[in-house]
Symmetry: C2
Subunit: 310 residues, 2 copies
């Protein structure tokens, strides 16, 4: 039984008020958006990744959730399992990484706990200030809405391959994996205009499916409109890996059709927003996400990989 199933069966019944049934990316309590993402050495980052970038990534994956919920990242609690082998120099680098994010994004550290252990674990609980009072959730989209994604998709996959060779700290090829770029500039647009929204972290197709289910719509994504990273020829094989690879930390959201003019204006001001598809009424019992290739073929994804569809 996987983590999703364990959570559904055993933790969901324990969810309290504000937990959104553990079905969304964040909780709402005390007038704040609350997220928690844990990073484990060897699972979410490589033991050879520079520790300042690991610290920054730990904060950014949480900021990504906060932004996708229409809020401004404000403060956090930091839990650390810190192996002594990383030494004082490692700790200093880690703290430098935190400080860099404080300076760039106005975050503040509220407290936490540091303990010893064999593998580095970073557990961040982040608090966001909602920009509007109505909660922005995965649910709320409707047939006719435009499907929009921020930034570029697939940096995580391409960057991970580079990072696996343990290149120097400033290697530009590994940087997109080591230091994700959540849509900081687009956060205000998301909060103001998105009807339903989530953080793209499991892979664009998987997260589109989550959005489709929660909003009760079918989503069709046009492959040729997806802003792929480092894939200038839109090579389909690479593109399909990028659609499922994860570690994007962009926001995927539904926008009312009449919001398109705001989108065009925002694009003209340099915001990285791409319309990649559309929401339609559900054809079956639950919302699905389908990919349309350049030649019109429809592809869907299953746990076994990509399937031809219909």
């Amino acid at each position: 039984m996987g983590e999703f199933d364990l959570i559904t069966r055993y933790l969901k019944p324990l969810a309290g008020e504000g937990a959104m049934g553990l079905d969304d990316d964040a909780a709402r309590a005390f007038g704040r958006v609350l997220t928690k993402d844990i990073l484990v050495e060897g699972v979410h980052f490589l033991p050879t990744d520079p520790l300042d970038l690991v610290a920054r990534k730990a904060l950014r994956v949480n900021m990504s959730d906060v932004i996708a919920k229409g809020a401004r990242p404000a403060a956090y609690m930091l839990g650390l399992v810190w192996p002594s082998r990383l030494g004082e120099e490692g700790f200093a680098a880690f703290a430098r990484g935190l400080d860099a994010e404080h300076q760039a994004h106005g975050l503040r550290l509220l407290g936490g706990d540091t303990t010893s252990g064999q593998h580095l674990v970073i557990s961040v609980t982040m608090f966001g200030e909602p920009l509007f009072t109505t909660p922005l959730l995965r649910a709320g989209g409707e047939a006719g809405d435009l499907l929009v994604v921020t930034g570029e998709i697939g940096h995580g996959v391409v960057g991970l391959e580079a990072a696996r060779n343990a290149p120097p700290a400033d290697d530009p090829g590994a940087l997109p994996y080591r230091l994700p770029q959540p849509p900081f500039a687009e956060a205000g647009f998301i909060a103001a205009h998105a009807k339903a929204s989530l953080d793209v972290s499991d892979g664009l197709m998987a997260d589109a499916k989550h959005l489709a289910e929660a909003s009760g719509v079918d989503l069709t994504i046009d492959l040729q409109h997806v802003p792929f990273a480092d894939n200038p020829g839109a090579d389909e094989k690479l593109a399909l890996r990028q659609m499922t690879g994860g570690d994007d930390y962009q926001t995927l959201f539904l926008l009312a059709k009449d919001g398109e003019r705001h989108l065009v204006e925002a694009q003209q001001h340099g915001l990285r927003l791409a319309v990649i598809g559309r929401a339609e009424a559900m054809a079956g019992p639950e919302g699905i996400a389908t990919l349309r290739a350049a030649d019109g073929r429809l592809l869907s994804i299953s746990s076994d990989g990509w399937d031809h569809f219909g």
Copy 2:
């Protein structure tokens, strides 16, 4: 360089408003008391401890901090690094443990993150509702105050020895280590009457030293007045181990001399509160904690263990 020193040198400069300079047990933000304690398998609990009790302990060590800061434990975010070897049965037991604390203490789960890894790590961020508006801190005590401790001291040390033999889940000898008993009943008294307060988790002597430093007083503890667990003859050798063993999760606080009548009344109503010493003006540049044995000898503790003093 130990964890305390790393935090002091590298994290304290990053502390923001509400963090209390990372010098206290909890933060204050959004009108809430915030704590975070991480438990690591093999460090804070034994791999053979029953998982329902591990879950309850993870919540209780956080509730202990919240209570010591004059607040009511209300809600939490849960971070889990969950090794697949623990299986669905283990996860079910863990969730049962959480639910037991929800029922007993009115806690609610807000959200969190579950990921895989080799060792079980439980990272709880807990939110408490302050019972009064003035924050209850380690600082605030004065010369003349009474030093009070809740419950009994030394269960952790005695219980750990029993738990090391991996006895059955309901073994009464191991239970005090596996399932600490924070001062739930005494929480209201602490919030109403304590001038300065902290959670006893590092060992009574070490935490008395923290309280002395923060409040700028010298503390003298009378060994014969400490309510030791499972040490009926007050064996001094065992008592000294119990004073330094840690894992007590009681509250140590300073009470104004004229609050003694409230204390006596509370004791008569069955609250477990013991006056174990007194605060005096500092003799040196910083507050210290000294232990007075039954025969009047003064003992202090250093990193090498117990020293005869003066």
